[in-house]
Symmetry: C2
Subunit: 150 residues, 2 copies
């Protein structure tokens, strides 16, 4: 599905999504069967930015490294919960983005938690190779602004 088309449409997210799927056909789902919409009880608890997003922190299972921070809309969260493949919403490209779909550096999602405010998600994942587009293991590896005191 062209997520841009979904974003441009109007109406409740689940109806927009269904309409876009109907219009675009199954190929737009990139081979994965994602049906339905985000659980309404979850959707009701989200506190989104004005552009409909919540923040998502990805943490490696076991080592507990903080890998990266990205954004999700309802559709990205629904796909993440139902496929266990971390799926984000790219604010710059204005479309859904399955982590690692082109690089192979996917995130298998073990657990998803919502914070007390309803505006941030914590994903516990298994990261394949580096999470960062630079090739680093995490997006926080390269730049230390304040060093530990030893």
């Amino acid at each position: 599905m062209g997520a841009g088309a979904v974003r441009a449409a109007v109406g409740p997210a689940h109806l927009r999504r269904r309409a876009a799927e109907h219009a675009a056909g199954p190929a737009a789902l990139r081979g994965r069967a994602v049906t339905g919409a985000l659980d309404p009880t979850i959707a009701a608890r989200l506190k989104r930015t004005p552009d409909g997003l919540v923040c998502a922190v990805a943490q490696q299972r076991g080592t507990k490294e903080v890998l990266m921070v990205a954004w999700m809309d309802d559709e990205a969260l629904h796909r993440t919960l139902t496929t266990r493949r971390a799926t984000y919403y790219s604010r710059s490209r204005r479309q859904l983005w399955v982590k690692g779909e082109t690089s192979g550096h996917t995130q298998y999602v073990h657990e998803v938690r919502l914070d007390c405010d309803g505006d941030t998600l914590l994903l516990v994942v298994d990261q394949v190779d580096g999470a960062c587009h630079t090739g680093d293991r995490t997006c926080f590896d390269a730049s230390v602004l304040l060093a530990g005191e030893g």
Copy 2:
């Protein structure tokens, strides 16, 4: 310093801050000597939201628990780097917020990292008691949207 006054003023952040400090007097600094402004080389690397903020993830040193996610403006980051007391910017109250100043649940900052995009900080902290306003240890303790597979 009434951070609201700072936000309402105009001009470069460091000049606004100095003007506000001058106007408000040392008492406004709540007893801590914070001088100067955010290092210009750091400021130049930040990619802020339209309202001038970057995202900040607080992680407990040692256990590596993700404690909470909040926001910082340049002033909050400057104070965090210079005092090692985690200081955030409250979007709802539109003012700086020294974590734990009223609750005592402070965060001593060991390390601060900036991510590859320049829009997210990772703080490695020692959290006193619970990080969450609900009393929980972390803001992610209460709500599991997707459980681990065992």
